[in-house]
């Protein structure tokens, strides 16, 4: 199953995505969670600490466009993801916002 969660800001996308991911993992499935938000907070909803959530975002940020760093999706998960409570593997795959005055 490949499931995307979308909606207006503040409706609870991240919370619901986090609970669904943890529930699937608890049911014995292998789960990959992808944070595609430019303000990525999915780690918090999965049970990672604020520090670890911020760290995953900063890893993604340090990659720039990412093309040369991770040629395959599996490699992104392997090298830049983290495993959270319940065994959910999380990676931040959005373009992180950086200051761009002007």
């Amino acid at each position: 199953m490949k499931l995307a969660v979308v909606g207006k800001g503040g409706v609870g996308k991240t919370t619901i995505a986090g609970v669904v991911a943890r529930s699937f993992a608890q049911a014995g499935r292998d789960v990959v969670a992808l944070d595609c938000d430019t303000n990525p907070n999915l780690g918090l909803a999965l049970g990672l600490s604020p520090e670890e959530t911020a760290r995953l975002a900063s890893i993604r940020e340090s990659l720039g466009d990412g093309g040369d760093h991770a040629p395959t999706p599996a490699e992104i998960l392997e090298r830049f993801g983290a495993t959270g409570p319940g065994g959910v593997r999380l990676a931040v795959v959005s373009r992180i916002d950086r200051p761009n005055p002007g």
Binding site: K8, G9, G10, D37, N39, A54, D97, R98, P99, P101
Partner: protein, 250 residues
């Protein structure tokens, strides 16, 4: 006063921005309200035409330029935009949807007008802006009109992380004074700690208020609520605080 509201999705930027705009207007200020978000919100919280006036600017005002994306045609001034293309809101507010251009869904189209109101040269007018949610646009020139940026945050871990990111971005654009507006506060214990961590002044604490939720459900402006509301009182406190600070600065 020229103020922009930024923060996480759902933190209450639009409700607070819309209410601030209405309260300023009721005090006799001329107010330009800017929705810089592409999703509707501010028009509801101000009460402009039942929230229907957020269609965006006419496409013929803009053109696509090599390397710049969509920009306003050179002959169109900020004053003309406000006079001819803004909608009339309650209490004399002029409302502009700056976040989109109908019929254009390319990412370039939504960055068409961000600099326009920076050049709006009527100092007697107040400008109240509602920025897009999250960190994507908040400081990429979208708040160029603002002398103050309020970070609206809820006392949650996600909101705190968002505020940290916004704060980091704000350091790159030092022209605006930054402050915190806590929203949906149920108990104030965590607030001092969060403010100290972010090293920002607290401009207001808006309590959790069922009347705000009701106004949002019904798509009405909070200020049009007949009943007294603790959140409205706190937002009025914010307006008075900022007006007093602006007077001091003169």
């Amino acid at each position: 006063m020229r103020i922009a509201f930024a923060g996480k999705g759902g933190s209450g930027k639009s409700v607070i921005a819309g209410t601030v705009a209405r309260l300023l207007a009721r005090q006799g200020c001329k107010v330009l309200a800017l929705d810089v978000d592409t999703l509707p919100g501010l028009s509801f919280s101000i009460g402009v035409g039942g929230g229907s006036s957020d269609a965006g600017l006419p496409a013929e005002l803009a053109e696509e330029r090599e390397g710049q994306g969509w920009v306003l045609r050179e002959e169109v001034s900020a004053e003309e935009l406000v006079d001819r293309h803004a909608s009339d809101g309650p209490d004399g507010i002029r409302f502009l949807q700056l976040g989109k251009l109908p019929g254009h869904v390319s990412p370039g189209a939504v960055v068409a007008f961000r600099h326009v109101v920076k050049g709006f040269c009527r100092p007697e007018w107040s400008i109240v802006g509602d920025l897009a949610a999250g960190t994507r646009q908040a400081f990429s020139g979208w708040a160029a009109f603002a002398t103050r940026v309020a970070l609206v945050i809820e006392p949650t871990a996600a909101s705190r992380l968002t505020a940290k990111r916004l704060r980091g971005m704000a350091d790159a654009t030092p022209n605006s004074a930054l402050g915190l507006v806590f929203n949906k506060v149920r108990e104030s214990r965590a607030i001092e700690e969060m403010a100290a961590e972010l090293e920002l002044p607290v401009w207001a604490q808006v309590p959790y208020d069922e009347r705000v939720a009701k106004a949002e459900r019904e798509g009405r402006a909070l200020v049009d609520d007949a009943e007294a509301s603790p959140a409205l009182a706190a937002i009025d406190g914010l307006v008075q605080h900022l007006l007093a600070e602006d007077l001091e600065a003169v």
